[in-house]
Symmetry: C4
Subunit: 210 residues, 4 copies
């Protein structure tokens, strides 16, 4: 009913917009009396950290999304709904990003709550992505050919790792909010470089379309 190319195009659009909208949560600072702009800019460091971590995270979501869909040859109803669910949570990321940017420097309850909200949204996004991945790989109906079981198991382990790390970051946010956000950033970096190291294996649909 829906071609994979249209589903990918729509998803790419949403991810590209979500990643670019992050910047509008970095506000040009108000400068107080007797304050320099340089100081006011510096005070906003949580905004820059939050931008960086969320940018990397959405970038990696795009990479993973793309990686899964290059192997998908058919779209069924549940996949549509599961994909919309991934986009729902990914599209929400600018909101906890803004909350972290505004409250990380406060310390105390606001910083902890902001970090917990941030890690919590990433955790739910990870669960949503995991559900999509599980549906796609539970049978070979949606894939041109099911990848070797070892490859699927390795991919599932990588997903599990992400969920465990996001859950750990969520717990860590009660101890140290900055460390929790930093852990989410490390996770995105790890995924980015892990993706980067995957050898380009020939893929059926890609060869045709290029």
């Amino acid at each position: 009913m829906v071609s994979t190319s249209r589903l990918e195009a729509f998803s790419d659009g949403v991810l590209a917009i979500a990643i670019t909208l992050l910047v509008i949560e970095i506000h040009a600072p108000e400068v107080g009396r007797g304050e320099t702009l340089a100081h006011a800019l510096w005070q906003q460091w949580p905004s820059y950290v939050a931008y960086l971590v969320s940018f990397l995270t959405i970038g990696v979501i795009w990479l993973n999304h793309h990686r899964v869909f290059t192997q998908v040859i058919g779209v069924d109803g549940p996949l549509l709904v599961l994909n919309l669910n991934v986009l729902l949570w990914t599209g929400l990321i600018p909101f906890p990003t803004a909350v972290v940017a505004q409250h990380l420097r406060d310390g105390g309850e606001p910083a902890r709550t902001a970090a917990a909200l941030y890690c919590g949204v990433l955790l739910v996004m990870g669960l949503a992505f995991g559900a999509l991945f599980a549906w796609v790989t539970h049978t070979d109906r949606l894939l041109g050919r099911l990848p070797p079981p070892g490859v699927v198991r390795a991919a599932r382990r990588r997903f599990m790792l992400g969920l465990v790390v996001y859950a750990a970051a969520l717990a860590l946010s009660w101890v140290s909010a900055p460390l929790a956000v930093a852990l989410c950033g490390l996770m995105a970096l790890y995924y980015a470089f892990d993706q980067a190291s995957v050898p380009a294996e020939p893929e059926p649909r890609d060869q045709q379309s290029t």
Copy 2:
């Protein structure tokens, strides 16, 4: 004059942006003295509800739009204008979403008016979509082949159902604003799962392009 692929790409762009812009109406909350951030976040629940319902609604509009256009093989002038009309009302959705987010908790007249505005915009969007659908199916000039009459009738019934439900939600907003918004959410959920259950039938244009 305008190819269907370009019309779809432009429409997809507008829908992807509208769905992603919804998040910027969820503001990082101001925390009052003696208030926790957790409490301030909790107080914003109408923002989350409104985000969820509008996200689902625009997601379903995209699904329906895509579904109609996979069968369209030609674009004429009235279709261009009717499609722009659908985008006009869909692109407007972030506005009533923000109004609901801000006033649903107020109760009284503001909540009722906000819900009525929300349901009203969805109703007009539904009428705009119905006009587009009626134009596309009134002859087989724009379709590769007219689907069997039973299929068209079933699709029209689904549209009618949507209009009736949105009108009912509009009326309900004078009784209970939260229920009216919830009804719009149920409508989107129903459409999403209804779409999901449609068997993938072979379609002429899709097979070629994939």
Copy 3:
């Protein structure tokens, strides 16, 4: 150097975003003491008018842009710069739209200036589009085949009409700001229906790519 398909995709992206960003200039209204939300929403009518007129205008710019580029087979350097110039002014439209939305109801100098700014930006956008069109049609190097002279002349007349009407609207804004904005809206409506009436003539590149 740049393929027309990439240039069109980028331009489509910018136009789709500009048209969808219009909605964020319609703010959820603040409700004063003793005021109803319905009244506060009603007071914002210039926002709705400005949204409508700008939406139609950018929609028509997209239609015209698409119409010109379906016949373009090559992109040279000046065309790149001229196209960027069109996007620069079209991408600016949300700004005068916001100014009109905020000041049209004020009357007096603010309303006049807001309308003049609005019509002025549309006029410059029209000039930018005219320059692009003149470059594309000044020789058959960029077109598969130059359309019959009569068709080119008719298109130029339509462009001229637009420039004259926008200049008239600019002048009219000193007399009546609402009328000036309404004239811009009528212009967009005329273009939309004029486009709509053009018979679908077979076009070389379109047939191949679809």
Copy 4:
């Protein structure tokens, strides 16, 4: 793993959104008592200058990005990360643009710091682009055929020129903030017209895909 067409589509999306988001940093001005709207609009000239310079700059980044990728036939891991790095800094541009718009007229430390931030972000973006270009051209694995050494050297010289000019603008911002921003604008203009003068040479991938 990732096809170049998907990478280009995602990058185009991010660049198109970043360039269009620039407009939301131009706010409809508040009009003080006894002030005309015309005066208030005029007072905002740094917003218009910043919009213009940033629009040209992102436009040129798109042109350069597109120019590099028309010759790329394969995407490996490091290229993915290097490309995400370019988008990270380009997507950030609306932020220093807003800072310049808000503080250029202040003079003194705020103006200098705003200009330095602006030029600094452009410099880092230039370095990020340079790294991507160096990776793409360091071997012929990612290119269909390595362009003649003279062409690569000329392109590298152009990149170097950009870096030198942005560094000079950064230094200049301590002397005159407006001049520093103007220098960045001249750089973008130079690139735009330089691009414009490149003759359309036949390129392997482009011919196929068009």
